[in-house]
Amino acid sequence: MEYNGAAIVAMKGKNCIAIGADKRLGQRQLTVDTNFKKVFPITERTYIGLSGLATDVKTLHDQFRMRVNLYKHREERVIEPKTFANLVSHVLYERRFGSYLVNPVVAGLDKNDIPFICGMDSIGCIDLADNFIVCGTAAENLYGACEGLWEPDLEPEVLFETISQALLNSVDRDAMSGWGAVVHIITPAGVITRDLKSRMD
């Protein structure tokens, strides 16, 4: 799980969600890509971040995209974050013995604009949180930073500052993550995506 490196964090705010990740793709100590996407939109209001083995990150993103598209066509409606999280959990547990080496983070707004975040282990055990979810090689750093900086009911702009500081300072203390960062802020009005200026090492 430490082969490629990653740092992903999601936070709940006042009627909004923030999800951010670093952009490094490595092969042990060698940095191979500085623009590797680890956070993907599933619907306009639901995002998933995947840390861990990069090949599984890519494969699972494709799997989820397929299953969500099928859901959309069969059910003629957009999937809710909570439902999608259960789908992710199911897909991961299907490979209970021979699992994907990923730790997903699901974040989104449901149809009533209520924020939802959750994390999971590699076999799909859902961790529902009221505050924040972290994963990746910088997880321990992120736990400390988030615990210190997060408070409930932050407005979108303040939440952006909070999550960015937590992310930037955590990846700076982790050799395997960094080389740039992306943060998405999801509000009922829409999604704002910002690239963070960070230490490029």
Binding site: R74, E75, E76, R77, K82, T83, N86, L87, H90
Partner: protein, 244 residues
């Protein structure tokens, strides 16, 4: 072993599948069932005629719950219905395993219809001799669907299947309106069954199932999603006494 690897349901020169026509005839001989979609819920009802007075009518299961938010009733062959009930319940739980919520009615209907269609095209089997009325509540509100032995399904505002379907549907056309309340719909459903009922209709001779779109608020303030319920004989008796 391969003697029946071919389908027994084959096309006639006029383009019809005769086995399905015969299945529909079996449905047409079955006890009448009606369904009405109200503004705030759905009601389905059926005749529960016992062959003899010695039959324990209370143990007859014509009205079944498929999952918490969906119920089902039939016209036609009882044993075929039981098989489909099992398939429906299993399909609903499989959906729950993945999404942790009940399937929308239209999804369950598609699944059941797909199963029924398989039996018109697979080797060595015959179509099901039932038409189903499936009632439920989901993200789109109240739903009422009919599924035929062919696997065709139809969404209805109000309908009847079985022996007395033609007269019943005419009766329903006159009395249905889009804003009908669930209570009124229950009365109308019972009245519709009464029109074609041979003999005296009592609370033991019909089965009624309802589901409302309104969630119930528990004692601790939490909201429980709507649940499909079979009316008890006492409740049916109440409705009957007001219908007389």
């Amino acid at each position: 072993m391969d003697r029946y690897s071919f389908s027994l349901t084959t096309f006639a020169p006029n383009g019809k599948l005769l086995q399905i026509e015969h299945a529909l005839a079996a449905v047409g001989n079955g006890a009448t069932s009606v369904g009405i979609k109200a503004a705030n819920g759905v009601v389905i009802a059926t005749e529960k005629k016992a062959g003899s007075s010695l039959i324990d009518v209370s143990s007859l299961e014509h009205m079944v719950m498929v999952c918490e938010s969906i119920g089902m009733v039939y016209s036609g062959m009882g044993p075929d219905f039981r098989v489909l009930v099992n398939s429906a319940r299993k399909a609903a739980q499989k959906y729950r395993r993945i999404y942790m919520e009940d399937p929308p009615v239209r999804i369950l209907v598609k699944e059941l219809a797909s199963i029924m269609q398989e039996f018109t095209q697979s080797g060595g089997v015959r179509p099901f001799g039932v038409s189903l009325l499936i009632a439920g509540v989901d993200d789109r509100g109240p739903n009422l669907y009919q599924v035929d032995p062919s696997g065709s399904y139809f969404p209805w505002k109000a309908t009847a299947i079985g022996k007395n379907m033609v007269n019943s549907k005419t009766f329903l056309e006159k009395r249905f309106d889009n804003d009908i309340d669930l209570e009124d719909a229950v009365y109308t459903a019972i009245l519709t069954l009464k029109e074609g009922f041979e003999g005296q209709m009592t609370e033991q001779s019909i089965d009624v199932g309802v589901i409302t779109t309104i969630p119930t608020t528990q004692a601790d303030g939490k909201q429980k999603p709507p649940r499909f319920q079979r009316l008890s004989p006492a409740e049916i008796k109440d409705y009957l006494s007001n219908v007389a």
